[in-house]
């Protein structure tokens, strides 16, 4: 038998071995993976990407699926072979859709009033006060304190009210506030230091997204304690508890703790902490949601944080929804 025939025969043996190996693999390993994809029979059926605009370029990637330090490159899809689609190319067709807004007060009426009649376009935004709230007079926010996570950092960076203070850091959570430090008036201050340094007229709190996956009872207890701390240091301030902003439908479907269902339930719990006379509930979501109750895809790049210009819109919305005593 000459060398070439021998090699071909070995190759056929290898093919047989390989087929057997794959068959066994499919039977014992992949089946489990496939069941999760709910398509046990057709291996190709699980490959559907919802977003066709995300056709990928293919340089080697910053393996975004596994090392999440970077999720940057839109060119990582081929490398990771997964259904990652680039967020940068998301469709922006929604840019002139309608804005409806609602603000709900919780308390005696305990009802969510949505003023869906307020129809505006994104380019020409007219935000009107919702029921129970009114537009802020000049200087309303000069004695306001805003406490929050990265989204509040965004508001502070791109749409700060003159005179207002922002105690906001990336990753802030209710249980972290007491030990956190933030830059206020170019000085790094602790939370208790800030509360004792000045009497505020209004205090806005927007927290929760960073602890949305934690035990809810504990978190709400922490939230309540935080309010108590603030109340005892600032007896006259109006406290606004802000709902956590939704994430996009795509981000919500990602399969981790950050999804709109748990954001909604968290917001409901926050609403329960309000009394409607000294503590009010503010919900930006109706103004930023699409028809399915998710953050609009064209409002954000990463699915979680609004673009800078929408932080401005958000601040404008704050301005139109205040309590005047």
């Amino acid at each position: 038998m000459d060398k070439q025939t021998k090699q071909i025969l070995t190759s056929f043996l290898a093919i047989i071995f390989c087929v057997a190996f794959l068959w066994a693999g499919k039977k014992y390993i992949w089946n489990n993976a496939l069941i999760e994809n709910q398509n046990p029979d057709d291996p190709f059926a699980s490959d559907i990407v919802p977003d066709v605009t995300g056709i990928q370029p293919d340089l080697p990637g910053t393996g975004s699926a596994e090392s999440s330090t970077v999720s940057s490159s839109s060119w990582s899809a081929e490398l990771t072979g997964s259904t990652l689609t680039s967020m940068t190319s998301s469709d922006t067709a929604l840019s002139s859709s309608t804005l409806s807004q609602s603000v709900s007060t919780d308390g005696a009426q305990s009802s969510t009033i949505s003023s869906s009649a307020t129809v505006t376009t994104a380019s020409d935004t007219v935000i009107k006060p919702s029921q129970g709230f009114s537009a802020a007079p000049e200087g309303y926010f000069s004695d306001a304190l805003f406490i929050g996570d990265s989204r509040m950092v965004g508001i502070a960076s791109y749409a700060a009210f003159p005179g207002a203070n922002y105690f906001a850091t990336v990753g802030l959570a209710t249980y972290k506030v007491a030990n956190a430090k933030s830059e206020v008036d170019n000085k790094s201050v602790s939370f208790s230091g800030l509360l004792s340094s000045k009497q505020y007229g209004k205090i806005y709190i927007m927290l929760g997204i960073n602890e949305i996956g934690n035990d809810r009872t504990t978190t709400m207890k922490k939230y309540g304690e935080l309010i108590q701390t603030i109340r005892s240091a600032q007896p006259n301030a109006i406290i606004y508890l802000c709902a956590n902003l939704h994430v996009t439908a795509k981000r919500s479907a990602k399969g981790d703790a950050i999804n709109n269902k748990s954001i909604n339930s968290f917001n409901e719990a926050v609403k329960g902490l309000c009394d409607g006379s000294t503590i009010y509930y503010l919900d930006i979501n109706p103004a930023f949601d699409d028809a399915s109750g998710c953050l609009r895809a064209d409002y954000t790049n990463d699915g979680v944080h609004p673009l800078a210009k929408y932080y401005k819109e958000w601040a404008e919305w704050f301005k139109q929804n205040v309590i005047i005593r």
Partner: protein
């Protein structure tokens, strides 16, 4: 499984190396093939069909290679069939939706999209297989009768998913007979670690700046921040890609292969022509060997030569991704290269400072076209670079960004030059080499592992909101 993941670094690679070193010489290819299939299977976990796709591709090309041996009259038909299969797969999985989108611009046409996920590394292995078939047809390489050896060549995990695009003629000898020496192994290990460091410690960090700008929205950033962003993106792309190639070459060296160099300090070029001789060199070689020269290269009329260049650069652009911006990017490169060919290049080569300035402008500019697929956003970014395109919401945002990313930008600039490499080579040769190289490598490895580990324990930016 990307190289810069815990699974790969702490499990897959050590196991693979141990098994490889223990194996008998005749079994080494089989071991490599086995681990490569596992590597691909793991990567294609969500789309198991793609494993069958690549394996059947290997078998089909192996059979066609054998059929093309000898003097058969049907050789060219077999070649055609093989190339149709290879490029057909590439077309369907990568470009089909793009063309459907074009057809759908025609009124009343509403074709459904195929919505296929790209198979892992299909652009790379298609080019490798095609080079094998074409070289066999041209009788430049001997037909490979052993499926195991051919499979090892195509599937070899170091270069499987992100290049370098190794041509069969580069490695055929080593496929059959190679020695794994300690020197080679150590050299490979160092290359691998340096590549890993470039990717994890530099590229990933610089990439965050680019992400930050996108998250803010290009219309709201300041002009200095926009320039910083595109410079950071240029560096990220370079360190990411060249780091990945370096890891591949390093691993190849550990297994006794000498893969061709893929990057040679491209950012030191003075012309675009030179840049593309130093950037992704194996891709350039591929297009030269299999497209440019067969079309006539530069040994024909001037007009024909420019036409050939146009074809090559449009295809190069298209290879990088199925979208218009990649085609425009290829066209831009064609324009620059033609200008240089018709005289500009000589000037730039003579006055090298001018050349560097010229490239300092065009490198980020060309990557801008590469980076942003959305034409609207691209236009906004472009205007931003020249002080227009929307209201800047935070005038000194670039000060903030420089505070966070400044150190990476400066280190990045240093690593774009050849100084660190020269210093390291000198250290390797010095008497104190072990006292310099070992701690340095250990530090880079630890740093990279730490960054990866921290990234993983942070379930998708969980505490980053």
């Amino acid at each position: 499984m990307v190289f810069s993941s815990i699974h790969f670094l702490l499990w897959f690679l050590p196991f693979c190396i141990i098994a490889y070193l223990l194996a008998h010489n005749r079994m080494k290819n089989l071991i490599l093939l086995f681990f490569s299939i596992v590597f691909y299977a793991y990567g294609a976990m969500e789309n198991p069909g793609y494993l069958y796709l690549i394996l059947s591709s290997v078998v089909i090309n192996w059979i066609i290679g054998i059929l093309m041996d000898g003097k058969g009259p049907l050789r060219q038909y077999w070649l055609t069939i093989g190339l149709i299969w290879d490029f057909g797969c590439l077309f369907i999985f990568k470009y089909l939706d793009f063309f459907i989108r074009i057809f759908n611009y025609v009124p009343l046409v509403h074709l459904p999209y195929a919505n296929l996920v790209l198979p892992l590394g299909i652009s790379f292995f298609t080019f490798q297989i095609a080079s094998y078939l074409i070289d066999v047809y041209r009788r430049q390489v001997k037909v490979e009768y052993s499926l195991i050896d051919l499979g090892t060549y195509i599937l070899m995990f170091p270069q499987l998913i992100a290049g370098p695009i190794v041509r069969f003629s580069d490695v055929q000898k080593e496929l059959h007979r190679r020695r794994t020496t300690l020197e080679d192994f150590l050299e490979g290990l160092q290359l691998f670690i340096i590549g890993l460091g470039r990717k994890v410690l530099l590229a990933n960090q610089l990439g965050n700046l680019w992400d930050d700008l996108a998250n803010v929205g290009y219309e709201s950033v300041s002009t200095p921040a926009a320039w910083m962003g595109i410079v950071a993106y240029s560096m990220q792309l370079y360190f990411d890609f060249s780091g990945y190639s370096q890891m591949a070459i390093g691993m190849g060296r550990m297994f006794g292969f000498h893969f061709p160099q893929n990057f040679n300090h491209p950012y030191l070029s003075t012309t675009m022509t030179e840049f593309w001789r130093r950037w992704h060199m194996t891709l350039g070689t591929w297009f030269r060997e299999y497209v440019y020269i067969p079309l006539g290269g530069n040994r024909c009329s001037k007009g024909r030569m420019y036409f050939n260049m146009l074809v090559v650069w449009t295809l190069t652009g298209f290879w990088h991704g199925a979208d218009w911006n990649f085609i425009f990017w290829g066209m831009l490169l064609f324009l620059l290269l033609s200008l240089e060919k018709s005289g500009l290049g000589k000037v730039l080569n003579r006055y090298r400072a001018l050349g560097h300035l010229y490239m300092l402008f065009w490198i980020p500019m060309s990557w801008l076209l590469f980076a942003i697929s959305d034409m609207g956003k691209l236009a906004v970014y472009f205007q931003k670079l020249f002080g227009r395109g929307g209201e800047t919401l935070l005038a000194n945002d670039w000060v903030k960004y420089f505070g966070i990313y400044g150190k990476f930008l400066i280190i990045g600039l240093l690593f774009c030059t050849d100084i660190p490499e020269k210093l390291y080579k000198r250290a390797q040769k010095s008497r104190y080499a072990p006292f310099i190289c070992i701690p340095l490598m250990a530090a880079v490895m630890t740093g990279a592992l730490y960054c990866i580990w921290r990234g993983m324990n942070d379930p998708f930016m969980y505490f980053r909101f």
